[in-house]
Amino acid sequence: MEGQIEACWSYLKPDDQKTPAFGLIVQGTLGTLPREGEMLIRIDTGYDGFLLLSEANYNHIGLHLSELPKKYWPEGETVTGEVFRLRRSLALVHIPMAGLKLEGYVDTYQGNTENLTGLDFIKTMRLLLDGPSQRACIT
């Protein structure tokens, strides 16, 4: 990661709490998410996977066409203790502002409407969460 340009994004404020987020592009078999530009996706260190996408986004870019074998679909557990099966696919993720291209597992589950990046996503990065200026930066 040395020698790379610092890339920063303002915190997202989807509801009552501002949260750190990245601008990224997810590449699936049928296209990219978003189609143009980048999409801000919240960082959630409570999620220990790579990337969680809503069912609609998962299907829209054709992640059902790069899915892992069913025996590798994990079980997910919510903070309230519900356990259920996730679908899991392989995808490429670009972070244009940081010049990064990552490959990892994208998860979804029935009824999911959230998009999140998790611990596996940030494990190779040096991150700065700048609280006073409400920005998340890859350094």
């Binding site: 969680l52 074998p69 025996k71 590798y72 903070v79 259920f84 392989l90 490429l92 009824g111």
Partner: protein, 138 residues
Amino acid sequence: MSFKSWRSELIKGSIPKEIEEIFRRRAMEKYGYSKGAVSKALEAAIKLWLRHEYEVTEEEKLNNKAFEEILNELEAKFPGMHAVIAKGQLVGVHKSLEEALKTNIKEESHRIVFKIGEKPKPWVRLGWRAKLKPVGAT
């Protein structure tokens, strides 16, 4: 999977007494001491159970069967490469995921892509944002 409950049906079955007692008590604690609390809890439990496993299509079953059949051979011959399975057969083995994703789509509605030899962890903690829709109060 979506659920529209415009009419109710009666389900009959038997469970051990101790589970029935805990279930009834917990149902009332959650949904109130009113008529319908047990039904609401039963509906929530069944929805959760249905959600636990995905229903897979015939094409998905075919691709997964092919995966099971060729896995040992792929692990011996192409460790670390990306395999693509469609229509119940291996259609390519590629050095990178990028190449594997470029495999031509014909009329498939499902494909399997995996890195040979890589076994992801079987369990994920979902965090505080991910949740299931509540069943609602009685």
